[in-house]
Amino acid sequence: MVRKLAAVLVAMFFAATPALAQWPEKPIRVIVPFGPGGTTDILARTMQKVIDEKKIIPQPVVIQNVGGHFSVGARQVMTAAPDGYTFLAIHLALLSGEIVDPGRGISYRNFEPVALTGGFCFHPIVRADSPYRTLKDLLTAAKDRPNTLVAGVNIGALNHMGGLFLEQGFPGAKFRYAQIGGGGENFAAIMGGHTQMTILSSSEYQTYKANGVRALGYTGPARLALEPDIQTTRELGLGFDYCAENFWFAPKGTPAAAIEGMANALERATATPEMKEFFDKQAQTGQFLRGAAFAKHLVDIYQSIEPVAKLATPPQQR
């Protein structure tokens, strides 16, 4: 009898909690669907550190890396309970991945958009002693001798799309794409003379620029403060810009209080001097978007990359 009563009391206590709930009342989990050390991972962890140190959220924020294909981690968030305690930190890959490989059933539309915190754009890169002094030299060569200049990329990923954007902006130019991988691998391949060009993110370029590579342009809408001498692709007459921003999502159906709470925290963190310094050091832009503006931005971005992302689809998928 006593036991039964205790059970009822316990059940009532737990049943009562959600009504009293004020987000957040337990630790928050952020899934980074990439291995540790990547651009998104570093951003999420720096953000977490700032949120923690400034006590912006009274509960701990835990970053969890899920390696391998980004869709694995994204799916974990997509199917997680929408209780307001699971979030996803990701970039443009969530949008382009849907176009490149639609069979995965993963779409940004299956998530609640939370916020956009800064982003990075790209540089076309050659070796410092390359005969191609300007982007025009490079693209002219790629037009005169199509499918001979080897561009090191990660097929279907952001650097591959960067190369395709260049081709779109300079009709007739055609690179020979080779699967090399991310920034580190592509830097090594260029230095070893195995590839003639690649696309590096602005932060990757900051890492490698002193070691024998040269940027021929910048795909951002305006010149980078760190690199005032590198012309943008629009200035060079290619008529496009191409950047990848840092997106935060929650599972569909997450309570508005949690989405607002997280967006508030990210907005406050983004405005701190610590985050500003981080964005500068990483050659990232530090803009912030949330709510309807962010949702609209996602639709715009999706439309702008759709034609190029289709071209990045590996042949066996077309």
């Binding site: 291995g35 050390g37 699967q179």
Partner: protein
């Protein structure tokens, strides 16, 4: 901060304590099967945020060194590799211990570890920059040929039937294919299971294949007394004469481990296998290998420790991690806003020097700890199986789960436990399976990159000199055991 300053810094109480903690916890984790040094480092990473970068590096490098060395104890006393890199040590360490020389087996492995570590360290200090300059010229063709050479070496490695060894290796290759096709980013062969998107991950496969299968097999006769061997101190410190006898083997195996470690993605496990195979082929008593050969233990343990120095070279010089542990080190550096690469030598010499100094001092600390603490670590083996095994099973499950937080990985681990058990019963060797599994994605990725660069032509494989040389070596490795067997047969009939 010069290298000397870094040594002095390590002698201060706080850094010294951190290093000892790292080494001891590393060894303990190395001893426990299923939990790797890489996993320990991953779990430690969050605790290093608050530390100064130099201290974080000291802790992580010490764990790396301790972990690779601790695998020896379990390999020798329980025939389970405490770390994947101790696979080869199980083949001979255990038989030697079983014959009544556990102290000797541990002592030899320990001595080989320190020699391998020191050789690796010397190379790390002297060669980092020049070797990185050279390695950058190795393109996908050379890398493919290198991996192929390693795969061929596996064929001469298998105990017993050559055919069973090949089948085992090819099964490993086959099971490496499901998951993300790294060349196109597309997912293949998942049979519609979302949990299969990342394919079979190395950790659940290795834990299942080596730890679980062994546990299940041993549990079948859990009451028949212990198979694990009581350690004694007899022979733990080997004599100078032993160093002289095994000196050439130690040096050769260390150099092999070092050379393999320099190549990204081919880590301590492969290096110990190659060193073991070379030692077997060069040995005057190859028939002793697999039955408790001292040469075998020395070869495997020198090589895997030398690899720790080797894998740090591309990490420091190019920012490219050589293995799982290096990937975690890279993450630690990046988290502290440090960027590995040639630039690190000028911008943060204290980090480069700390890594180099810690690598050496942690090896010395490891040697002292392992020598003095043999009985303490071996006591882990005296815990009754009924208590120890469930604990290890829990660790296996945690280990399989922890990497990606996927429960499916635990099922995969259990599945491979059954596969391993079945293979053991049918007397298929397990090591070639794992090697095929590890090397297949590398070989595939490099070859497909190469073909994309050459627009489909295979000719560069033989027109590029380094690639050609490596291919010739692999042919020689393939033919050599046959030729030797044929010659022996002819001699015996003559």
């Amino acid at each position: 901060m010069t290298l000397l300053d870094s040594f002095f810094h390590l002698m201060e109480p706080a850094p010294f304590l951190l290093m000892m903690i790292g080494v001891i916890v590393g060894i303990a984790v190395g001893v426990m099967p299923g939990i790797t040094a890489g996993m320990l480092m991953a779990l430690t990473l969050p605790f290093t945020y608050a530390m100064a970068p130099v201290d974080a590096i000291i802790l992580l490098i010490s764990m790396f060194v301790g972990g690779v060395s601790g695998g020896l104890v379990t390999a020798t006393l329980m025939r389970i590799p405490g770390e994947p890199s101790a696979i080869m040590t199980t083949l001979d360490g255990y038989p030697l211990a079983k014959r009544g020389f556990p102290g000797r087996a541990l002592g030899l492995g320990n001595a080989a570890s320190i020699v391998g570590g020191i050789v690796g360290w010397i190379a790390l200090v002297l060669l980092t920059r020049p070797i990185a300059d050279f390695a950058v010229q190795l393109g996908p063709w050379e890398n493919f040929s290198l991996v192929l050479t390693a795969l061929v070496l596996v064929s001469s490695l298998s105990r017993g039937s050559f055919l069973k060894g090949m089948i085992s290796a090819l099964l490993g290759v086959l099971l490496a294919f499901p998951g993300v096709d790294q060349t196109s980013g597309l997912v293949r062969l998942t049979f519609g299971f979302d949990a299969m998107t990342n394919g079979f991950q190395l950790l659940p496969v290795v834990i299942g294949l080596f730890a679980m299968s062994q546990l299940v097999a041993d549990t079948m006769h859990v009451n028949q007394g212990t198979d694990h061997i009581r350690a004694n101190m007899k022979g733990v410190l080997i004599s100078l004469k032993d160093y002289a006898t095994h000196g050439w083997n130690m040096l050769r195996s260390s150099l092999i481990g070092l050379w393999i470690g320099i190549h990204p993605g081919v880590g301590a496990t492969v290096s110990s296998i190659v060193a073991y195979t070379v030692a077997k082929n060069m040995s005057k008593t190859p028939e002793e290998f697999g039955k408790g050969s001292e040469e075998a233990i020395v070869a495997a343990e020198s090589a895997n420790n030398a690899t720790t120095g080797g894998t740090l070279i591309p990490l420091l010089a190019l920012g490219i991690p050589g293995g799982i542990a290096d990937a975690i080190l890279l993450a630690a550096l990046v988290m502290h806003n440090l960027r590995p690469g040639p630039l690190l030598f000028t911008t943060n010499p204290e980090i480069v020097n700390t890594i180099m100094a810690t690598h050496l001092v942690a090896h010395l600390a490891m040697f002292a700890t392992m020598t003095l603490g043999t009985l303490v670590f071996a006591r882990l083996m005296l815990i009754p199986r009924a208590i120890l095994f469930p604990l290890i099973v829990v660790f296996c499950a945690i280990g399989a789960f922890a990497m990606d937080g996927q429960i499916a990985d635990v099922w995969i681990m259990l599945l491979f436990g059954l596969v391993g058990l079945a293979m053991e019963i049918a007397r298929f060797p397990l090591a070639p399976f794992v090697i095929g599994f590890v090397l297949a994605p590398l070989a595939e990725g490099k070859l497909r990159s190469a073909l994309m660069i050459s627009d489909g032509s295979l000719w560069p494989l033989v027109t590029r000199p380094i690639s050609l040389l490596l291919l010739l070596v692999s042919v020689a490795c393939f033919v050599w055991p046959f030729w030797r067997e044929w010659r022996q047969r002819r001699n015996s009939t003559a």
